[in-house]
C-alpha cells in the first residue's frame, strides 16, 4: 500500500515534468499557460498562509508580488545604472545580479514589506483588515506608477524592460535548450523551475501546517483571545504569517519578472489581489491541495477559454457573439458565485480542523 502510494507520487511527479511536451504539441502558448498557472499556484499558496492558516484576510497581496517583481527587475536590469551615475561608476558593467542572489533578496524585501504592513494592522480583524490591506496594495501600485519623477526609480507606467533571464551555469533560460537533439523551449525551462519551486512551497506549507507554528496560526484563526490565553505570542505569530506569506509572493514576483523580461504597474492591479483571494477561498482555505486546485482552475480555464471561445462560437452559432475576453470574465464571475453558493467552504475543503 505504502509502496503503491510512493510509486503513484513518483509517477505524478514525472507526469508533471513531462506535461509541457504534450502541451507543446498544441503550441508554445499552452506551455506559457502552464507556467503561469504554477506562478499563480505559488501566489495562492503564499496567501493561503495568511488567509487560510492565520485567518487574516489580506486583500492587497499583489503588493508583495509587485515588490518581488520590481526588486528583481531593478537588480537585474540596466535601469538603475542608466539613471544613477553614482551606481554606474560603482558597477561599470551594469548591475546584473545573478538570479540566484536576486531571488532570495526579492523574497527578503517582500517579507520586510509584509512585516511593515503587519505592524499597524495587528489590532484589526475581519473586514477592517481586508480594507486596510486593500488600501496598502493600491498605495504600492500608485507609487510604482508615479516614482519616475523627480527620481526615476520605477520608470512609471512604462515599466522596466530588459530584465535578465534566469541563468544556470552556461544555460540561459531565455533561449531554447537543445539536449540530445530534443529542443526544450524557453517557456518549458521556466515551467520546470516553477514546478520545482511550487513543490518546495507546497512542502513548506504542509510541514508548517503540522508544526507548532501552524497550530498556533490556526488557534489564532479560530479564537484569538483563547490563543493568547494558551500562551501563544499572537503578535509574533501574525507577523510571521505576514512575512512568510509575503516572501512566497516575492519569489513569485521575481520569477514573473525573469520570465517576462518586463514589469509594469499594470500587472499589479487590485483585481489581481482579488483573483488570488478567490483562488484560496474557492479551492478551500487552509488546504494546500485545495488551494492549488483553485489556482489551477481560476487561472488555466479562463486562459484556455481565450483560445477555445472563438472557434467554438463560430462552430455553434456561425458567428462570434461575445468577445472571448468578455466571455472569460462572465464565466469567471459566474463560477465564483455558483461555487460559493454550492460549496461555501470551498471546492476541496480541509476535512479536519474546524471552520474558518
Amino acid at each position: 500500500m505504502k509502496r503503491n502510494a510512493q510509486l503513484g507520487l513518483l509517477l505524478t511527479g514525472l507526469a508533471l515534468f513531462l506535461l509541457p511536451f504534450a502541451a507543446g504539441l498544441l503550441g508554445d502558448a499552452w506551455i506559457r499557460i502552464l507556467a503561469f498557472s504554477l506562478l499563480y499556484m505559488m501566489l495562492a499558496l503564499g496567501l493561503n498562509i495568511v488567509v487560510g492558516y492565520a485567518g487574516l484576510l489580506d486583500m492587497g497581496y499583489v503588493a508583495f508580488y509587485a515588490v518581488g517583481a520590481y526588486s528583481y527587475a531593478l537588480l537585474a536590469s540596466p535601469h538603475l545604472t542608466d539613471h544613477f551615475p553614482v551606481l554606474a561608476q560603482a558597477f561599470p558593467a551594469g548591475l546584473h545580479l545573478s538570479a540566484w542572489i536576486a531571488i532570495p533578496l526579492a523574497a527578503g524585501l517582500a517579507a520586510l514589506f509584509g512585516v511593515l504592513l503587519g505592524f499597524p494592522v495587528l489590532r484589526l480583524r475581519g473586514d477592517y483588515l481586508a480594507i486596510v490591506t486593500l488600501g496598502f496594495g493600491e498605495i504600492i501600485r500608485i507609487f510604482l506608477n508615479n516614482l519616475n519623477a523627480p527620481l526615476n526609480i520605477t520608470n512609471g507606467p512604462q515599466g522596466l524592460a530588459r530584465i535578465d533571464p534566469v541563468r544556470l551555469g552556461p544555460i540561459s533560460f531565455a533561449e531554447p535548450l537543445s539536449v540530445l537533439g530534443v529542443v526544450i523551449p524557453s517557456a518549458q525551462l521556466y515551467y520546470t523551475l516553477f514546478l520545482l519551486l511550487t513543490l518546495l512551497v507546497m512542502l513548506i506549507s504542509i510541514r508548517l501546517e503540522h508544526s507548532r507554528i501552524g497550530r498556533a496560526w490556526m488557534a489564532i484563526r479560530e479564537d484569538e483571545i483563547a490563543a493568547k490565553a494558551m500562551g501563544i505570542n499572537t503578535r509574533n505569530m501574525k507577523l510571521l504569517a505576514f512575512a512568510l506569506g509575503a516572501s512566497f509572493g516575492g519569489v513569485s514576483g521575481a520569477m514573473f519578472a525573469a520570465f517576462q523580461g518586463f514589469v509594469s504597474p499594470e500587472s499589479f492591479v487590485l483585481s489581481e489581489s482579488v483573483v488570488i483571494v478567490a483562488m484560496v477561498v474557492l479551492g478551500g482555505m487552509g488546504h494546500v491541495q485545495g488551494v492549488a486546485l483553485g489556482a489551477l482552475l481560476l487561472y488555466a480555464i479562463p486562459e484556455g477559454l481565450r483560445y477555445v471561445a472563438r472557434p467554438l462560437q463560430l462552430e455553434l452559432f456561425g458567428a462570434e457573439w461575445i468577445a472571448p475576453e468578455a466571455l472569460r470574465m462572465l464565466l469567471f464571475g459566474l463560477s465564483l458565485v455558483l461555487i460559493m453558493l454550492l460549496r461555501p467552504r470551498g471546492l476541496w475543503a480541509p476535512t479536519r480542523g474546524g471552520s474558518a
Binding site: 485567518g55 484576510l57 473586514d127 500608485i142 506608477n145 523627480p150 477561498v281 462572465l330 471552520s355
Partner: protein, 309 residues
C-alpha cells in the same frame, strides 16, 4: 484664500457623492455585517442606464430641456438599480447568511465581475460621453466658482440624505431596520420579517447609488464600465472612516474624505517640495483610512469595536 475655498467646495461636491454611496454600504453593513462589494457596480449600472435613457430621449425629442431629461433618467435608473440590488441579495447573499464569513465576500466579487462584464458587452468597452444637461456658466458661491451641476450635486445629495435620516429615524420601516440591526432574533419576535427589511435596505442603498451614478456621470461628463470600482472603494473607505454601520458617520466620512482628497491633491506638491504631485490623489483616501483605523478603529462616530471576527 480663494483657492482654498474653491478646493474645499470641490471637495464637498466630491464628498457628497461619496456620502451617498457610503450610505448604501453602511446600511447593509449595519444590518448584516456584510461588505457589499458589488455596490459600486450598482452605481455604474445607474450611470449607464441613465446615459442610455438620456441619449434615447435626446435622439427621439431633440431639444428636450435638460432637467426633464435628468428626471426621466432617474425614473428609469432608480427602479433598475433597485431591481439589480434585490436580485443580488436574493440570489447571492441570502443563501449564504450562515456560511463562513468569506463566502459572501467572494460571491460579491463574482457579482461585481459579472455586472462589469455585462456593462462592457451592452455599452461597449470604451468610455461614453455624458452630455451636459445643465447650463455650464459657473455660479459665484462664497468667493468661489461652482458649475450648476456641482450645485445640483450638493443640493440633491443633501436632500436625499435628509430624507434617508427621516426614513430611518421616523418611520415604521426605519424602526424595523434599526431593530433588525440590533438583534434579528428579537426583531422576528416583534413581528418583523428580517428578510424583507434586508432586501429593502439593499434597495434603498441601490436607489441612492443610482442617483450618485447619474451625478458622477454628469460631473465628469463620462461613463465607463469600470467607473464603479474605485468610487465604491472610496465610498467604503468613507463609511469606515465615519464608523461603519452609522448613517451620520457615513455622511461625515464621505464629506471629509472628499475635502481631504481635494485639499491633498491641491497642496501635496507644495508640501513635499514638488517630490509628490497631484497624481497621488488616490493615495489620500487609503492613507487616511489606515490612519483612522490605527488611531480609532471604530471610526469617527462608530461605537462598535473593530476587534471582531
Amino acid at each position: 484664500m480663494d483657492i482654498l475655498v474653491q478646493q474645499v467646495l470641490n471637495g464637498l461636491v466630491l464628498g457628497s457623492v461619496y456620502a451617498l454611496v457610503a450610505l448604501g454600504y453602511t446600511m447593509v453593513y449595519g444590518i448584516l455585517q456584510l461588505i457589499n462589494f458589488a455596490h459600486g457596480e450598482v452605481l455604474m449600472m445607474g450611470a449607464m442606464v441613465s446615459l442610455s435613457v438620456i441619449s434615447t430621449l435626446q435622439f427621439l425629442f431633440p431639444g428636450c430641456p435638460g432637467p426633464l431629461l435628468l428626471i426621466a433618467a432617474l425614473v428609469v435608473s432608480i427602479p433598475s438599480c433597485m431591481a439589480i440590488a434585490a436580485l443580488m441579495e436574493r440570489l447571492a447573499y441570502r443563501p449564504l447568511r450562515s456560511a463562513p464569513r468569506l463566502a459572501p465576500l467572494i460571491t460579491a466579487i463574482g457579482l461585481s465581475i459579472i455586472l462589469q462584464t455585462l456593462a462592457m458587452i451592452i455599452w461597449s468597452p470604451n468610455p461614453r460621453v455624458f452630455p451636459d444637461l445643465l447650463p455650464t456658466a459657473p455660479v459665484m458661491v462664497g468667493g468661489a466658482f461652482l458649475a450648476p451641476k456641482q450645485l445640483l450635486i450638493l443640493v440633491s445629495a443633501a436632500v436625499l440624505m435628509a430624507l434617508l435620516m427621516l426614513l430611518v429615524n421616523r418611520t415604521a420601516l426605519g424602526r424595523a431596520m434599526r431593530a433588525v440591526s440590533e438583534s434579528p432574533r428579537m426583531a422576528i419576535l416583534m413581528g418583523i420579517d428580517p428578510n424583507r427589511v434586508v432586501a429593502l435596505a439593499f434597495m434603498l442603498g441601490a436607489a441612492l447609488a443610482a442617483v450618485a451614478g447619474l451625478l458622477v456621470g454628469m460631473n465628469y461628463n463620462i461613463a465607463h464600465f469600470t467607473m464603479g470600482f474605485l468610487l465604491g472603494l472610496k465610498a467604503f473607505t468613507a463609511a469606515v472612516l465615519g464608523g461603519i454601520g452609522n448613517l451620520p458617520g457615513a455622511v461625515l466620512g464621505g464629506l471629509m474624505l472628499g475635502v481631504i482628497e481635494s485639499l491633498g491633491a491641491g497642496y501635496i506638491g507644495d508640501l513635499t517640495g514638488g517630490f509628490l504631485g497631484s497624481h497621488y490623489q488616490d493615495i489620500f483616501s487609503f492613507v487616511v483610512l489606515i490612519g483612522v483605523l490605527i488611531l480609532k478603529p471604530s471610526g469617527l462616530l462608530g461605537e462598535r469595536v473593530a476587534d471582531r471576527a
